[in-house]
Symmetry: C2
Subunit: 335 residues, 2 copies
């Protein structure tokens, strides 16, 4: 049984698979280290290997092909290695000074393409639109489960991003609590009555030095306190709390940005591993003001080192003003 | 000029090298990726290459050899790529909703051996004793600089630990603020009047399931909310706040543990990358009760993935009770 344990020293949650122990050679770094010649080893996310995954939750099947068989375009499955179990109700357990919850939650994998080796920046726009629609749909389904308090979407691409599968995919995770990661957002609202992200947009637009690109619906910028070199955020220009409320027009716009910007990032940074991280507002709890959904795009040029694990502080060798300048030029060159 | 920027969303500090931008191929992942054949490429930490580093801060030179020349056993140098500058006084700058400090601080590299490829678990005990003595000495020197409020020591070993140099080394970092990483420690003291780490020792000893090893001065355990698979802590059994107060007998004991336990970890986990992280109490500020220094030893079997960057939550596929059992057995087998 999985547990979500409270770290009494660091004031944070840790999800722990309490009953099993991966062997050293089952870890992604070792597993993927073997495949250094680029050989296409067995991949459970490939078309034709559907029986190696848990049964699908949903799929886009253009020709109405049979569930859990070939013929799909996008496929959503439970994460087989999730520490979370969607079938239980939340229970707290105390053990002396320690405390934990049982591992209630959901973790789903969106297999974005049947083609092994295809990557986001190479997809047709139509595929990216479909993926965003699937994410929206799953977001709205998960938010109906009242045991879930926060929905985190993310994508790991490349071994240095933490991806354990090479085949392109995204993930959506429904957590039984709101993580403590963005406390400044609600604190700022309490203090000022304004949305922090809206204020950031206003200030960034007035100066321009960290702005990468702007569309009808979104602003791309390298954040002031960028934790990672060449980190970029995609922020809806209008105040929206939930990703689940995104419109068709916004999805079209966002798909174009994802394709264009990811292409620029891949080219200009020499094909780095990267994460996409989609932050939204809490669900199924008393309303908290000040959330504004946004997407973080993080190339992984550095491995998280001792100093970060030790202190929580990131050190970033590239000023966001310089990252933005570089990206801005490349985005312009593509016009 | 470097800046330490406040992340207004995540309530955290980010050190940013404001004036320069590393090019993609200058990042460690790319730089080291080239050297996949294990070829010994140019290394500025090797004996004979002293002129490629900044002038040494101190060195152990058994035959009184000349400063910044060959003939050393351990060498301490400033971190050439540090974002911190030891020469300034702390100044705060506001910029609309944002704020930053200038990059005051110190970051030193302890080159642990002149031999490229030698690693901690293979050192003679005498060398480990010397390294710990150098760390103690630098800790006590840095704590005399009243601009420094916290001293973080750490070691990155292997590319998946974030090490940008293959040659074995440790680092010591003097920060102009206390990082927010271990808030539970002082909160627990305020609430109960007891040291949290002493309470942890008491509870762990009463149950035993997460204990790895015990010596005259130290307890080794896999922490209850282990963030990383096979994470292990070395905790002084007596309540000490500052690493700088470690005695000779304790250093001897700790050196033995470092050699023995690291050897077990390297063997049983198939030579993983790892971090050593040494946490101590704040310095040069009004006294805060409840700190108790300890060492975290973290094998890096996983790459920090999107979910951790997004939420701050770690997910750990190996329960600490199972890690402890595995290590305990291996430590016993060495007796």
């Amino acid at each position: 049984m999985a547990e979500i344990r409270w770290d009494i020293i660091k004031n944070n949650w840790v999800g722990i698979a309490a009953g099993k122990a991966l062997k050293p050679n089952e870890f992604p770094i070792n597993k993927r280290g073997i495949d250094t010649n680029g050989n296409h080893v067995f991949c459970p996310f490939c078309e034709g290997y559907e029986s190696y995954t848990p049964p699908e939750i949903m799929a886009i099947r253009p020709n109405n092909s049979e569930t859990d068989k070939s013929g799909w375009s996008i496929r959503v499955i439970p994460n087989k290695f999730s520490i979370f179990n969607p079938e239980e109700s939340l229970e707290k357990e105390k053990s002396g000074i320690y405390c934990s919850y049982n591992g209630v939650g959901r973790q789903e994998v969106i297999i974005e393409t049947p083609i092994h080796g295809a990557e986001l920046h190479g997809y047709d726009i139509d595929r990216i639109v479909m993926i965003l629609n699937v994410l929206k749909q799953r977001y709205n389904v998960l938010s109906q489960d009242d045991r879930i308090k926060y929905i985190q979407m993310f994508k790991n691409q490349g071994v240095f991003s933490g991806a354990s599968q090479g085949h392109s995919h995204s993930q959506i995770m429904g957590l039984p609590f709101v993580p403590c990661e963005n406390p400044g957002v609600s604190e700022y609202y309490k203090k000022t009555g304004s949305c922090l992200m809206c204020e950031i947009i206003k200030q960034e637009k007035s100066r321009g030095e960290r702005i990468v690109y702007e569309t009808d619906y979104f602003l791309l910028l390298c954040p002031y306190a960028s934790r990672f070199p060449y980190e970029t955020w995609v922020i809806p220009r209008n105040h929206y709390e939930h990703f689940g409320a995104i419109s068709d027009a916004e999805i079209d716009d966002m798909a174009m940005i994802c394709k264009k910007f990811t292409g620029v990032m891949i080219d200009s940074l020499q094909n780095p591993a990267y994460n996409y991280i989609l932050n939204s507002a809490p669900v199924n709890m008393p309303y908290i003001s000040g959330f504004h959904w946004y997407l973080e795009i993080i190339p992984r040029m550095l491995v998280t080192a001792g100093v970060n694990i030790a202190t929580g502080i990131y050190t970033n060798p590239v000023a966001p003003e310089l990252s933005a300048q570089m990206y801005r030029q490349h985005m312009l060159n593509m016009e």
